[in-house]
């Protein structure tokens, strides 16, 4: 399973802090994003943003990064700390 997390406005749009996604058939983050978007129109809209950021195992990453069983993947909008 892949541990998936959502933060900030994305978390609110989805009404979901995170979920466990089946890793079978998923090779990269883009594939995970596509399978999550297929959960419904709300998911498709929220995950379509070209501003979407992603972290793999708590490091900033990119959509073409490979994922495997046991990984933690977080999706979030651009950060605004400081």
């Amino acid at each position: 399973m892949i541990n998936v997390l959502f933060f900030a406005s994305l978390r609110e749009q989805l009404g979901c802090e995170g979920l466990r996604a089946e890793a079978t058939g998923i090779t990269d983050i883009a594939g995970l994003r596509t399978s999550l978007a297929a959960k419904g129109s709300k998911w498709q809209a929220a995950l379509a943003s070209d501003q979407l950021q992603v972290a793999l195992n708590q490091k900033l990453s990119s959509m073409d990064a490979a994922v495997k069983d046991g990984d933690e993947v977080a999706f979030f909008p651009p950060v605004t700390g400081g």
Partner: protein, 159 residues
């Protein structure tokens, strides 16, 4: 002095004076100490439209990654400049106008190194550390997420 990096991501407030004392404690080789403190404003500088007053700022973070991202930024600064102590404190949770949000401090034998390191750390923190701000107007339960600014991403290019 040998490099010492200290990172705190916390809900509680912090005392900038106490942080300064920790940077200086038994540190007799670094003649320069530079510090930056970020505070909550009571307004949102709307890029278009009217300025909004802000009563509460709520900061969300990604536990675990927030600490490691700040540590990584501090290490990068230490690779570029000869630093002694580097301290970063970033708060999360509800904050009020005037509250301290973030502290960055660096000591060095050279003032330019300490000053540049603080500026570098803040620039990368703003665009790379997983924190998100939500502003609440007075009496409002519906907050607005702060939008990232292109100027913050642009600021990284100077490094």
């Amino acid at each position: 002095m040998p490099l010492e990096i200290s990172i705190s991501v916390q809900a509680e407030g912090f005392d900038p004076g106490a942080e300064y004392n920790l940077l200086r404690s038994e540190n007799y080789v670094d003649g320069a100490t530079a510090m930056f403190v970020g505070n909550v404003r009571d307004f949102s500088p709307a890029e278009s439209g009217e300025q909004q007053s802000v009563a509460v700022l709520e900061l969300e973070h990604y536990p675990g990654m927030a600490e490691s991202a700040l540590t990584d930024i501090a290490r990068q600064a230490a690779q570029r400049w000869p630093l002694g102590r580097v301290r970063i404190v970033h708060r999360y949770g509800p904050l009020a106008a005037g509250d301290e949000i973030v502290f960055v401090g660096a000591t060095s034998a050279h003032r330019q190194a300490a000053l540049d390191a603080c500026a570098f750390i803040m620039d990368f923190l703003k665009s790379r550390a997983p924190f998100w701000k939500k502003e609440f107007a007075k009496g409002s339960e519906e907050g607005d997420w702060v939008q990232a600014r292109n100027s913050d991403e642009e600021a990284l290019k100077k490094w």
